[in-house]
Structures are given as C-alpha cells and as structure tokens.
C-alpha cells in the first residue's frame, strides 16, 4: 500500500471526529451561539463511551451514553450562557475545562486500557477499484456520519427548521417579533452541538483509536471550531475541511512510515500549524466571512 492509498483509505475515518463535532458546532453557531467548550464535550463523550464499551455495553449503547452525557454538559452551557446572559467565550472555556477535568476524573482507572473497534463495511464493487477502493471500505459510523452530513445540508437547504435556526442567528429580535421562540431554538441548537461533540469523542475513543488516554482528544475539538470558520458555516465546505484535516493527521503517520527524517513533534503539531495557516488565508477574505458569517454570533439575546 503506498502513501496515497493509505491516506485515501484512512482519511474518512480520521475525518469523522472533526466532521461530527464541526457540524454540531455549525448548527449551534448558525443559531447565533458560540460554544467554545467542544474540546471538553468531546473528552466527556470519549471517556463515557470508552467505559461503556470496556464493561461490555457495546458500541451502540456507548454512542447513546456519550451523546447523552455531552448533551447534558452542553445544557449546563445553555443554562449559564442563555439563562444568565453570560459571556459566551468565558462560559465555553469553563465548559471546556470542566469537561476535560471530568473526563480525566472518570477515566483515571482506565488509563492506557484498550477495547475492540468496529469492523469495516465494504461497498461491493466500488471497494475493488484500484487506488481509491479503500475509500469505500469504512465502518458503520463513517457511513452514518456521511448520511448525517447530507441530512444537515438538506435541513438548511430545504426545510423551515433550517430557516428558523438561521433567522434566530441572523436577527433574533426580528425572529422573536415574528413569534419564533429564540431561546428555545438556541437551547436546541446547543444541545444538538453537544450531542454531536459527544458522538465525535466516542468515535475517537472506541473506534478510531480504541484506547483511553487522558488528553486523547488533543485539540481536535478546537480544530473542529476552526473548521466551522474554514467552511464559512456551510455544510459542504466543512465536510471538505474535515477531510483535509483527516488527511493531514494521517500524513504525519505516513511520513513516519516512509522513513522521512522529521522530528515526530513537528509532525504531531502539523494539524495545529495547518489550522493556523488556513485560518489566516480564509479570514483574510473579509467579504467571504461577512457574507456567510452569523450576524448575532456570541451576542446574548435580550427582549
């Protein structure tokens, strides 16, 4: 298997944690709320999922538990940021610290233990194509994530739900005046973002690298938040961005395998450096951000 085949085969799986968390954050932000606690939500989901699988609960139950626990923590965010109109940046940071602390606390006795991942499901015919065949051999969660991506895209493209979320994010006062429940929509968007971050963490700890280590999310929650900016709040672009970061994180593995003599720390920091560079390139186009950005992002709603 050469490096390109290796990256193509693994890209979607590596991208899935980024994709799930970023799509959740996109929905939250579209409703006008900036939740910077994704890293902590993912960490909590990851440890809960790991504990469930380790004790024989199975992967399905693990994802349910991870989604629920991260949703609960995101509702704490909603309680403080919406209920008390707190600074969303500070609230998100607090949720991030709390989530990472809880994950370290719960995961203490599971440190460096491993579980079994999930088998891959191949699409007959397509998976036999040379070079790109690996793309069509993925585990069930990757396939479901792709479906979820389509569903979220369709929701914003075609449905009234999508329109209401956007209205609440663009101009909450007008949305309220028309009669839409701004706070309820925002709480739901926050909860959805929390659930997706929980799934993302679960995928990281029980499927992608099925082991528990404190700090294993390793900045992926933050990269997911950056992905929402890269993707300019658009589902399709966020999907492409997630694939890019999946490929970048595999590139460091591939580079080590091909015996490229680079310090491993440089390769480990590659995703962060790429994030900084891409963030600079995309943000420099101020019109693009203004055009697609969410007008009331981060501002508390007051009647």
């Amino acid at each position: 298997m050469n490096a390109i085949e290796f990256i193509l085969a693994g890209m979607l799986a590596a991208a899935t944690p980024f994709l799930l968390a970023a799509l959740g954050e996109m929905v939250t932000e579209r409703a006008g709320v900036l939740n910077l606690g994704v890293e902590g939500l993912m960490a909590l989901g990851a440890v809960i999922a790991f504990i469930v699988v380790y004790h024989g609960g199975g992967h399905f139950l693990a994802f349910i538990a991870a989604g629920l626990s991260a949703t609960l923590l995101s509702l704490v965010f909603a309680f403080v940021a919406l209920g008390f109109r707190a600074n969303q940046v500070a609230t998100g940071l607090a949720i991030g610290i709390l989530g990472q602390g809880l994950s370290a606390l719960f995961g203490k006795t599971y440190e460096s233990l491993t579980v079994k991942g999930l088998p891959k499901i191949a699409i007959p015919g397509l998976s036999d194509i040379p070079v790109i065949g690996g793309l069509f051999e993925q585990d069930i969660v990757v396939w479901l994530s792709l479906l979820a991506t389509l569903a979220i895209w369709a929701t914003f493209a075609f449905t009234k739900t999508g329109l209401v979320i956007r209205a609440v994010g663009e101009n909450p006062k007008a949305a309220h005046a028309i009669g839409y429940p701004v706070i309820t929509v925002r709480v739901a968007a926050i909860a959805f973002g929390g659930m997706m971050a929980g799934f993302a963490g679960a995928y990281a700890s029980v499927i992608y690298t099925p082991l528990w280590a404190d700090g294993m999310i390793a900045g992926r929650g933050w990269i997911a938040i950056a992905l929402v900016v890269f993707g300019t709040w658009l589902t399709g672009r966020i999907f492409l961005g997630a694939c890019l970061f999946g490929a970048v994180s595999l590139m460091s593995l591939a580079a080590q395998a091909t015996g490229l003599d680079l310090p491993s720390q440089l390769l480990s920091s590659l995703p962060y450096i790429v994030t900084i560079i891409v963030l600079g390139i995309i943000s420099a186009d101020r019109r693009l951000l203004k055009l697609n950005g969410v007008a009331s992002l981060g501002e508390p709603f007051e009647r």
Partner: protein
C-alpha cells in the same frame, strides 16, 4: 404565559457594586458545595477533603509559602490577560506564551552552563518576557493583518509550543547526564532567582508580580492608553469615532499578555524548578483565565483571586495525598468555579424578577 413560575432577568438601572463584591466569594462557596457533593458521590470523606483543600494550606508556614510560590505565576499571567479581556481581546494562549518564556530563559543556562554573575537571572527573566511577547505577536499579526480569530490562533499556538518544548527536551536540549529523562541540565546557582525567605522556595518573583500588579492598576485606571483600551472593549464604535485604533489595542493587549506570561514561565524555570522540564506548567495559562475573571478583571481583585487559585492548587495536591482524590479534581473545581462566577456576576447588571410581582399591564418589558 406565567403558568409556570420561572423568574426573569431584568436589567438594573445601574450596575450593582454590592453584587460585584459578593459575586466572587458567592461563586467560591457554591463551587465548594457542588464539588463536595461530587466527592461524596465518589466515596470520599468530604470533611477530610475540605480540611486538606481549604485549611491545610494555611496551617503551616511551609505550606503557606508554597501557596505564595504558586500565586506568583498565576498573578503575573492573569494581570496580563485581564488587560486584554477588558479590551475584548481574548488571548487564551497564555499557556504557550508561558512555555516560550521558559524556553527563552533557559537558553542562557543551557548554552552557557559555566557563566557566573548576578546579571544572569534578571537577563533570563527579561528574555523570557520577550519570548512570550514574540509568541503572542504571531497571534496579533494574524488577527490584525489576516483578520483571524485570536482565540483559535492563540490556542493552536499553545499546542504547537508544547510540542516544541518536547522536541527540545527529547533532542538538542536533553541533559546528556540525565538518564534519558526529558529534561535539561540543572541550572547553575547564578541562573536562579534569589530566594526571599530562607528555608522556603519563595523567591523574588512574587515581589515582581506584585510590583507589576501596581503597574497594571496605574495603567488601567490612570493612563490615557489604558482608558482607550477600556473604551475599545466597552464601546468599540465610540472608540472608533474617537480615533482609538483597534489594531493598536489588539497589538498592545497581546504583547502585554505575552510579556507577562513569558515572564512567569521564566520565573518558574529559574525559580522552583531549576531546569527546563516537560511539566513546567500545570495549566497555569488556563487557570489564569479563571483568575482574571474571578478577580473581576481588576488588578486589585486579581491579587486576591490568584491567592485563591493557588490555595486550590496546593489544596488539591494535599487532598491527593491525604484523601486519595485524583488530581483531575482540581480541573473540575476550576471549571465549576468559573461557571458559578459567570452566574453570580449576572446579578451585577441584572436582578431577578418573579412573575407574580410583575404587572404586565404597566411594564413594557413583559410581552
């Protein structure tokens, strides 16, 4: 409408000074109670934890001097960050600026282990501050020139800084006689900040932190530049009309934050550690964000809140030994403390109004 009685927040005519002063201790009390409940659920003796965390740090001079030792870096970093936060520049990458400060300061004892003289430690501290400011300047450039979000850029740079530190400690700066541990050589005597009180590890850097706190107070409360920063944070449009440049506020906020964090990093390696190690920071850069908020972003408040946070650190270490509490409990406490504070501080600008008191017919606010 008022079928179920949820109270609503009503904006006060003017900010409440009383609520400002009550919010931090109230948040602390709530956080303590919530975390004690968590410890009970975890099967720990809450009174033993309470004793180890809150009382023990004060019970002996030896442990209180350790509290003051931890206060130093927290105080320095938080003072720097608070200036930026007041200007609404969210530098959350102090952790990375701290690491770069430690690295810059270590360059002297690592490259010149034989050097002697009283000039060494002050130069190290200065180098560290410059290192932190340089690292922060990347974020400032990205924000001002490329319009990139400073929260994400500064955080990513912290993750890069940690990898850079590991690279140095596993590669070029590894102590050849260090049994392959990821650490530098032990610093020579002149590369250490002088001890303040014999028999303790408390050193001159706490005095520097206090002196700079006074400088921060004068800067924010008395200087025109500080005033411009605050206006920029409170009313960006007004600041724009008055000709206060946003780009200048961003540069200044980040350079000050990076300078202070870098200085703290330098003081840590040249103080209690005496060498560059993998674990030079136990999350000071993130804890300092909480310290800054808990101190109401005010230089005097931050002096008090940094001592509180240092007590939590030392108390957490105590509780790990005496009550078998995992050290992660400190992070849980920190997160819940900030959340409790953010709720408490809402009452500075708002008051709660219960539905049965409100008269919908006369007040325009309930519709």
């Amino acid at each position: 409408m008022s079928s179920f009685a949820l109270p609503t927040l009503v904006r006060r005519q003017r900010a409440s000074l009383k609520a400002t002063l009550i919010a931090p201790p109230a948040a602390l009390a709530v956080a303590i109670v919530l975390n004690l409940i968590l410890y009970v659920i975890m099967g720990r003796d809450p009174l033993a934890v309470l004793h180890a965390m809150i009382l023990e740090p004060f019970l002996s001079w030896a442990s209180f001097s350790e509290v003051l030792l931890k206060t130093g870096p927290l105080l320095l970093i938080a003072q720097g960050l608070a200036i930026g936060f007041r200007a609404k520049v969210f530098n959350i990458g102090a952790e990375g600026q701290f690491i770069l400060g430690a690295i810059f300061a270590s360059a002297i004892p690592v490259w010149f282990p034989q050097a002697t003289g009283g000039w060494i430690w002050p130069v190290m501290l200065l180098l560290g501050a410059i290192g932190g400011a340089l690292w922060a300047s990347i974020t400032a450039f990205w924000r001002v020139r490329l319009n990139a979000n400073e929260i994400l850029v500064s955080l990513m740079l912290s993750l890069v800084a940690a990898q850079f530190l590991y690279y140095l400690l596993l590669g070029p700066w590894k102590d050849p006689a260090g049994f392959n541990f990821p650490q530098s050589v032990m610093f020579q005597y002149d590369a250490m900040v002088p001890t303040l009180i014999a028999g303790t590890r408390l050193n001159v850097s706490i005095l520097i932190a206090l002196a700079l706190s006074i400088v921060a107070w004068v800067f924010m409360e008395k200087s025109f530049m500080g005033y411009k920063l605050q206006v920029g944070g409170l009313a960006p449009r007004a600041a724009g009309y008055a000709g206060f440049k946003e780009s200048r506020a961003i540069w200044l906020s980040l350079l000050i934050g990076g300078f202070a964090a870098g200085l703290a990093g330098a003081a840590e390696v040249a103080g209690p550690l005496g060498q560059l190690q993998r674990s030079i920071s136990t999350g000071y850069g993130y804890a300092a964000i909480i310290v800054a908020y808990l101190g109401a972003l005010h230089p005097i408040g931050i002096i008090i809140s940094s001592v509180v946070m240092a007590v939590i650190y030392i108390g957490g270490d105590n509780a790990m030994v005496s009550a078998n509490l995992p050290i992660a409990a400190v992070r849980v406490f920190q997160g819940s403390l900030l959340l409790a504070y953010l709720i408490a501080v809402a009452f500075v600008r708002y008051r709660l109004e219960w539905p049965h008191k409100a008269r919908p017919a006369t007040t325009g606010s309930t519709t």
